[in-house]
Symmetry: D2
Subunit: 142 residues, 4 copies
């Protein structure tokens, strides 16, 4: 398995905390999205970069396991790992760390597919622009 | 002053409640939007109806005064009043009632303008389709 | 396997639609929550009912598979099935149906555990109040 | 009039953009909250700092005027100005700047009151801890 990793720190918003005083579970999908965008901006493969190439990449699968909570005021870090895939999909694995308690708060994954932006049809093969990018990317073996 | 009124009941979502155990103040703008859409569906002037006529109607002003809180589990009602306007804008006044406590929770208003959906330019005059609709609407004098 | 099923219809909010013009993937977890609460209100096992018994039931796992999109203006139905479990957890399976296109939009599941509301400690055994409720519930064999 | 100013840069999230391709108007209240929290952390007057002193400070009024849109991918800056007030309230004025287009996107204000965290009763006079803080703060005359 090979992967490329990105890390970003995020401040938890007051509006993201629920009545139990901890981050509402659905908001972790926003943290994953923040992680993907941070990854994309650094590697030239952001949502807008992909859009310019004529594709949109909707999420088709998400999985989350919650381990410890995040309170308002805690600082967090999102680790996003793009996992190399032979299929025409984008697979990310994530860890959300609570830096205040030094515990992992959640881990999860998402899968995205390539749709032609005009026809909205599913691409069965990896688009050329993405294949080229993969060939030149700095993969880490792990 | 003349107006047209709509009322809808809304269930408060768990994710809409903040760490103080009450509805987060920003979510009232969602309730206002629910009110506008309920109004629009009943009167043939919903977001999608307007879009088909070639316009988008972004919010250019919002005002809110909060009076009493809404707890999770409370049932609420949104009263939305379209206020008749001579200018090329859509003005709504709202009241959010907490039906569980029987108290007004908030009141506010929004203003929207008409943009041509293609050029995104501001319409200085009331679009014809909307003028016709206003002429035939059941206004209440208040 | 035995289960109990609930169905609710939901209106999609404008603010729930993203820049692709379809419901943002994270908002499905709100639909699941709406489904759980609808289930809970009808069966006497809502978030607040459980809270009164001295427990909170945070989500520890969520899984989602997205099949077809939901556009703004579409009407949707959430089918929530509580799956009978021998362990001290609450397992729901969900389907989100787009009633406008008559297609399944997503399916998924969530797992919740019981925490003592005061100590926030994990309950390893099914709490008595919940066991009694399970014994009397109208399970369907499927 | 005297004020204290804070500035923060914010990355717009994909989930914050609506079907018109621009930031949904309600999300500006999140940007204001980000601004207040940034202000509070730098000056020792954050939500949690105030909570430790025995108070909560709910929003009782919000006003927003929208001028130009923010697209996904744009970088923004929130300018938050605490306005000196003789009454027992916290008044902030805000500007949201789109750094990508170099235009002001919105301006607005919020008002907060002090509630005793235990009784939830309104404080009619400025709490001592806050008065002390005001006396020592670096106000700018403007």
């Amino acid at each position: 398995m090979r992967f490329i990793e990105d890390r970003i720190k995020i401040n938890v918003r007051f509006s993201e905390v629920d009545a139990m005083g901890v981050v509402w579970h659905g908001n972790y999908l926003k943290f994953f999205e923040d992680g993907r965008e941070s990854f994309g901006k650094k590697t030239g493969m952001s949502y807008l970069d992909i859009h310019k190439k004529g594709y949109v990449v909707p999420i088709v699968k998400s999985q989350l396991q919650y381990k410890t909570h995040i309170s308002f005021g805690d600082e967090i870090e999102v680790v996003s790992r793009l996992i190399e895939s032979k299929a025409a999909k984008i697979v990310f694995y994530y860890e959300v760390w609570n830096l205040t308690t030094n515990k992992m708060s959640a881990e999860g994954l998402t899968e995205q597919v390539f749709l032609n932006n005009k026809t909205r049809e599913l691409e069965l093969y990896i688009p050329g622009f993405y294949k080229n990018w993969m060939d030149q990317a700095n993969w880490i073996s792990g």
